[in-house]
Amino acid sequence: MSERVLVAGAGAIGSLLAAHLAQVCDVSVLTRRPAHAQALCEEGLRVSGRAELRAEVRASSDPGELPEPALVFICCKGTDLAELAAALRGHFPSARMTTLQNGLGAEEVVGAQGDWPLLSGVTFMSGTRHSDTHVEYILDTETWIGPGRGSVLADAEEAAALLRSAGLKATAFPDLLPAQWSKLIFNASVNTVAALTGLPHEPRFAAREHPADLGQLVFDLIAEGKAVAAGAGVELAEDPWEMNLHATRRGAAHYPSMLEDVEARRPTEIDQITGALLREGARVGVPAPLHTALYRLVKAKEASFR
């Protein structure tokens, strides 16, 4: 129990990490809302679904009230990252910061607020928050970690080993960018279609017998994304179309977070996901007309909530 960990952001992913890590080390949780922190201190965390766990955690909405951790997992949504990173400014100077956001650029947002050593992460886990203190573990899939500014592969391996010791699936990579891009293209192609159609990620996303089939659209979106990656000189870790096929064959339909956001009429991560892909496309001169169209539709759908 020597390792001291901070989980910053207690949504579904943060809650899953905190509850698992609390089985093997000292865990603090930084929340946005004081009432959320209070509930965690009083009731602890409960995980159901893929794992049944209860965990006691220390929690606060003020980083100044929490002890200095060796390792931080930043688990908020991309839409909340700038605010959270600013709140961390000036705190925990010797901690190593791990970003787990969708899309690209989280490392830069955090790195701008302090000179902490950084790790890059992507996670494929998913869960559904039922309350401030109860999260259902839906997909017990991998988390991948690679070194960022001021870190080396051994640091990423140490963080991955810690997650594994807590019962999670984790792997370290010398360079995370290829995996980040695979997930970026996957998310940009699947989450947007789910958000616009109201469909969870299910077998229709892989069906492409007819030109108007949804799978054909997803296929074309992924092809566009791959062209941008190739233009940016990124060799993908996994083929996003294979990821799509695999995920739709898993059985239970998965509700991407962007669909949950739209149903709750919240802002989505469209700027962090499709926006990042389009910015890269513009930078390297590869057009992405289908992603552009979906970006515009999702942005307009968000506007209809106001």
Binding site: L196, G198, L199, E202, R204, L217, R296, A300, K301, A303
Partner: protein, 306 residues
């Protein structure tokens, strides 16, 4: 003279009630909405809004009871054309049948059952507010022309146009009615699904430059498909889109496809974007925008079953 409206929803009711004000016409209406038909037979068909009137219309849900009619005006949703005309075609053995429906392909379906077909396009719009009552919300012109493969005589077309005009629904007879039809189809296909996918009214979506640009992409694909067939649009759909966005025209109008999506009814996307894409394939004109829009709206429709 007897006239029958086939499909007495909002648009069908506008034709039925206005034509029934002409003393020389006996107007029948065939529709499957039992409550609407009963109310019409009990107290007449009532219009509010652009005109306030109550007109005597013989409404029925059993097409077998229709007498021989000189004209049929088909105003069903496009997916119901086949069933509606198969049941009612006997009444038009000596008559001419006009489609005033949305989308592409309706005349082909009518011609499989009727010898003399009129290609029509109509702009008036309304809403069924109660059984027997229709709010007339948008006034506009109707264009009628002989359907090329199975034409009514031009004299017949002109006679129907004159009847509509005298009844308060301005209509003109033209030799080639494809231009007005494609103009409306392109207008609808470029705007209705954007409203349906985002929840925005016509005016609100036109105010977002990125979404307005997406509409322009759909317009130019549609115009290219029309040109490839030698069809000259009678007006620029772009101007119609901007005109309709004015506060005094249809700024706040929720497209019928958005109304369908909100009520979880099947939409006409197959006959709008799907129709343009189908003609595009036939004439070798790519329609990537219409393909993705169709796939997304079909995805929305299937999400209601999951």
């Amino acid at each position: 003279m007897r006239v029958c409206i086939v499909g007495c929803g909002a648009v069908g009711s506008l034709f039925a009630a206005n034509l029934a004000t002409l003393p020389e016409l006996e107007v029948f209406a065939y529709d499957l909405n039992v409550d609407h038909v009963a109310a019409i037979n009990r107290v007449g068909l009532r219009l509010t809004g652009a005109a306030e009137l109550v007109a005597p219309v013989n409404a029925l849900t059993d097409a077998a009871r229709l007498p021989a009619c000189a004209f049929g005006i088909v105003a069903t949703k496009a997916m119901h054309t086949e069933a509606a005309i198969a049941a009612s075609a006997h009444a038009f053995a000596d008559g001419a049948v006009a489609s005033v429906q949305n989308g592409l392909g309706n005349e082909e379906v009518l011609a499989a059952h009727c010898a003399r077909v009129i290609r029509g396009t109509t702009f008036p719009a309304g809403r069924l507010t109660a059984p027997g009552v229709v709010a007339w919300e948008v006034q506009g012109d109707t264009t009628l022309g002989p359907y090329e493969d199975s034409p009514a005589s031009f004299e017949e077309v002109a006679r129907l146009a004159a009847l509509c005009s005298r009844a308060g629904m301005p209509a003109s007879a033209v030799a080639d009615a494809r231009g007005p039809q494609w103009r409306k189809v392109i207008f609808n296909a470029a705007t209705n699904p954007l409203g349906a996918l985002t929840g925005l009214s016509h005016g609100a979506l036109c105010e977002r430059p990125a979404l307005r640009a997406l509409a322009s992409q759909l317009v130019s694909e549609g115009t290219a498909v029309a040109s490839a067939q030698g069809i000259t649009l009678d007006a620029d759909p772009e101007e119609l889109i901007d005109y309709a966005a004015r506060p005094e025209v249809a700024y706040g109008h929720k497209a019928s496809m958005l109304q369908d999506v909100e009520a979880r009814r099947p939409t006409e996307v197959d006959y709008l974007n799907g129709g343009i894409a189908e003609f595009g394939r036939r004439y070798g004109v790519p329609t990537p925008g219409h393909d993705i829009i169709r796939a997304l709206v079909k995805g929305v429709e299937t999400s209601w079953g999951t």
